[in-house]
């Protein structure tokens, strides 16, 4: 049988060449942002076209790595010189943008508000300022909203987006639907009912009596005012939320679940992958970061480590005797023995972890199209070259 062309095997390369949106998700602290950036760099360098990396909360270093002094809500192109400095030449254009939650909300209001006066009133409302700037759910919603916005403008061949750190990894998937639900809810209608009719409404009366006692009339008034303003944007918001939901489920979108092989994040990632599948979203790939090197798992090496630990005294003496004359640091046999003990114990320690991690990976109950393990990098990534090297590890 003729060997299969690389492009015909499922790979991250093929996903990045065929999809228009790649959503990187997974538990916090596993290198999600870096992995998304590396995928974007690879796509731009190898496939060309216009690639956007939309990131939520990048390390400042990552911004520097991409040759940018500061990235904001605006999209910035990574300059060719930054590629040249890393010894790379990009076939395409790499663009980067960071999600500025507050700014994105303001833009959204400006788009949906019926007129300038309403827009300004909403923007100035203290409740709005609180919701847009501080509230967690609002990050989830706005990230997906902005993705939709950029995608529909059609300026990029590929958008790689990393999702905000959420309380629950699924929040961002539910965010559009929840936003739509919220705007069509009965509670909202209660809140914006004129105060008079509220009192005669039997169904809502107990609610308002309690609300008054807890929150005070003034605060309730603020809430009503805010929602009355917001209601003017109802149709736009609901329609938009549904469109965002449709885009995530579209064939053009694929999901990349990033994790490490540590138990807690891995369980979360597995749950997440299962959820994607059950919602009929496309689970394109799973990337396992910081995987300990394979040599730690060998049984012959374990034998060697055990022997070194058990016979450290004898081995130290012999090494010192035979190699000491040529190598000055080995002359103190007690010291050689100590080092042998240390390194064999250290090996066995790391082996425990490496074996456990391999076991956990093999036990995964989900089957993404592509499964990638990325070795532990000795150094942390802080330039384009580093991202490229990481990208090469996950490419095929």
């Amino acid at each position: 049988m003729a060997p299969t062309e690389a492009s015909e095997r499922p790979s991250l390369e093929r996903l990045l060449a065929t999809r228009e949106i790649m959503v990187a998700c997974g538990p916090g602290g596993v290198g999600k942002t870096t992995t998304a950036a590396a995928a974007g760099v690879m796509a731009a360098v190898k496939h060309g076209g216009k690639v956007l990396v939309l990131t939520v909360d990048p390390a400042r270093r990552l911004a520097t790595a991409l040759g940018l002094t500061g990235i904001g809500n605006k999209e910035h192109r990574v300059p060719d010189e930054a590629f040249a400095e890393a010894g790379l030449k990009s076939r395409g254009e790499l663009w980067v943008a960071m999600l500025d939650t507050k700014q994105s909300w303001d833009d959204l209001i400006a788009r949906h508000a019926p007129d300038e006066a309403t827009r300004d009133e909403i923007l100035a409302n203290p409740l709005y300022q609180n919701i847009s700037g501080r509230f967690i759910q609002s990050h989830d919603y706005i990230a997906m909203e902005r993705l939709y916005e950029i995608h529909s403008e059609g300026r990029y061949d590929l958008i790689v987006v990393d999702t905000p750190p959420t309380r629950n990894a699924l929040d961002f998937l539910d965010a559009p639907e929840r936003m739509a639900d919220f705007f069509s809810s009965r509670l909202l209608r209660w809140l914006i009912m004129p105060y008079r009719s509220r009192l005669v409404n039997v169904a809502t009366k107990p609610f308002y009596q309690i609300a008054d006692r807890i929150l005070g009339t003034e605060f309730l008034g603020d809430i009503s005012e805010f929602f009355i303003l917001f209601q003017t944007m109802y149709d736009g918001f609901v329609e938009r939320s549904r469109a965002v939901g449709r885009l995530l489920a579209d064939r053009r979108t694929t999901f990349l679940v990033v994790s490490t092989l540590e138990s807690v994040p891995l369980r979360e990632a597995e749950f997440f992958a299962q959820e994607l599948t059950s919602r009929h979203l496309h689970l394109g790939a799973m990337v396992m970061n910081k995987v300990l090197p394979e040599y730690l798992r060998g049984s012959e090496a374990a034998d060697a480590a055990h022997t070194m630990a058990e016979q450290a005294g004898e081995l130290g003496g012999l090494l010192s005797e035979r190699m000491g004359p040529a190598h000055e640091p080995l002359r103190d046999s007690a010291q050689v023995t100590r080092v042998l003990k240390e390194i064999s114990a250290s090996f066995l320690n790391f082996q425990t972890v490496a074996l456990r991690e391999a076991e956990e990976r093999d036990e995964l109950s989900v089957a993404p199209e592509v499964m990638v393990s990325v070795p532990f990098f000795d150094t942390e990534i802080h330039d384009l070259g580093g991202l490229y090297r990481l990208g090469e590890q996950i490419w095929e």
Partner: protein, 315 residues
């Protein structure tokens, strides 16, 4: 330094994946083992506390999971019901349901309602002196400021009423460093350290809560001193490595390779530790916990971590 466990309310936070829940659980376990009556509350419940204590799943209603240690999971809807019951003496339990539901719904939109319920419930437990210490496995560092600042935010939005009075005493409790403290957990890696430094600044500027301690989790052991490192370097020379392999009788290269990895990791990480120490106010103690090379995480590792914490606190 050992006044950490003398406080009444400890919020434990950290970037995802640094072992926040494990540190919170061990801290509570340590306090309980020293005879205190402790409540451990998991705020963004993923059920990890139960795993770390090998107990049945936790719920809103607290349960004694080991001597003196009570565990619960925060549930805002339940907290709301409890709040209404306690404050309004709503006569019919049946009437609370729909009202609480409506509030829960409001909580997902109105600023600070969810947060104030969480912090309110915890402060209430402290005020009622049900426990000597309440340890909170709080939200991750990205969201902790929103949680801790909520009483202040609500206090400034709501001018009168029950909530206003309640946020007044909550703020008093949260502001008092003798009663309340924040414990930030990180690992000696670039992003967690950077985030912890940023968090320390935001907590100072945007909340009234004091940073009580920074816990550095998963610190790798230092394999050798300078002289021993020289011995190790020599062992990796081709002629010496060959002799070692001959003497041992099986492949020793991976063992040397693994030691190299351990040394490199330790070295790259110590840079971040230095950065952390420099950036954090010297009055805030740093507590170091060793990396655990274990098969799994459960009661055994919780105990180990509690012991290490105890040593760091000078017990």
């Amino acid at each position: 330094m050992n006044d950490l466990l003398d406080k009444k309310l400890l919020f434990v936070t950290g970037k995802g994946g640094v072992g926040k829940t494990s540190v919170a659980t061990s801290l509570a376990f340590l306090a309980a083992s020293r005879g205190q009556r402790v409540l451990l509350c998991e705020v963004d419940g993923k059920g990890d506390v139960a795993g770390l204590l090998e107990s049945p799943p936790t719920a809103f209603k607290e349960r004694e999971v080991s001597p003196g240690l009570f565990a619960m999971t925060m549930d805002t809807e339940e907290a709301m019901k409890e709040y209404l019951r306690l404050n309004l003496r709503v006569p019919f339990a049946g009437r609370i349901g729909p009202v609480a539901k409506a509030f829960d719904f409001l909580a997902s939109a109105a600023p600070g309602v969810r947060e104030i319920l969480v912090v309110g419930k915890l402060c209430y437990e402290v005020r009622e002196a049900h426990y000597d210490l309440v340890v909170v496995d709080a939200t991750a560092s990205g969201h902790i400021v929103g949680l801790l600042a909520a009483p202040q935010a609500v206090n400034s939005l709501v001018k009168v009423g029950l909530i206003r009075n309640q946020t007044d005493w909550m703020l008093e409790m949260l502001t008092d460093p003798a009663q309340t403290g924040l414990v930030a957990v990180c690992t000696p890696e670039e992003m967690p350290v950077t985030e912890t430094i940023e968090l320390a600044g935001r907590v100072r500027n945007e909340t009234t809560v004091n940073l009580a301690s920074v816990v550095v989790n998963r610190v790798l052991p230092e394999l050798f001193g300078t002289q021993e490192e020289e011995v190790f370097e020599t062992l990796t020379r081709p002629d010496v490595a060959a002799e070692l392999e001959l003497l041992v009788g099986s492949d020793t290269a991976p063992v040397l390779e693994a030691a190299r990895l351990a040394v490199t990791l330790r070295r790259t990480r110590s840079v971040h530790l230095d950065r952390l120490r420099e950036a954090i106010d010297p009055s805030v103690p740093l507590l170091y916990l060793p990396y655990l090379f274990t098969r799994s995480h459960g009661l055994r590792t919780t105990r180990q971590t509690a012991t290490s914490l105890g040593e760091e606190l000078g017990y």
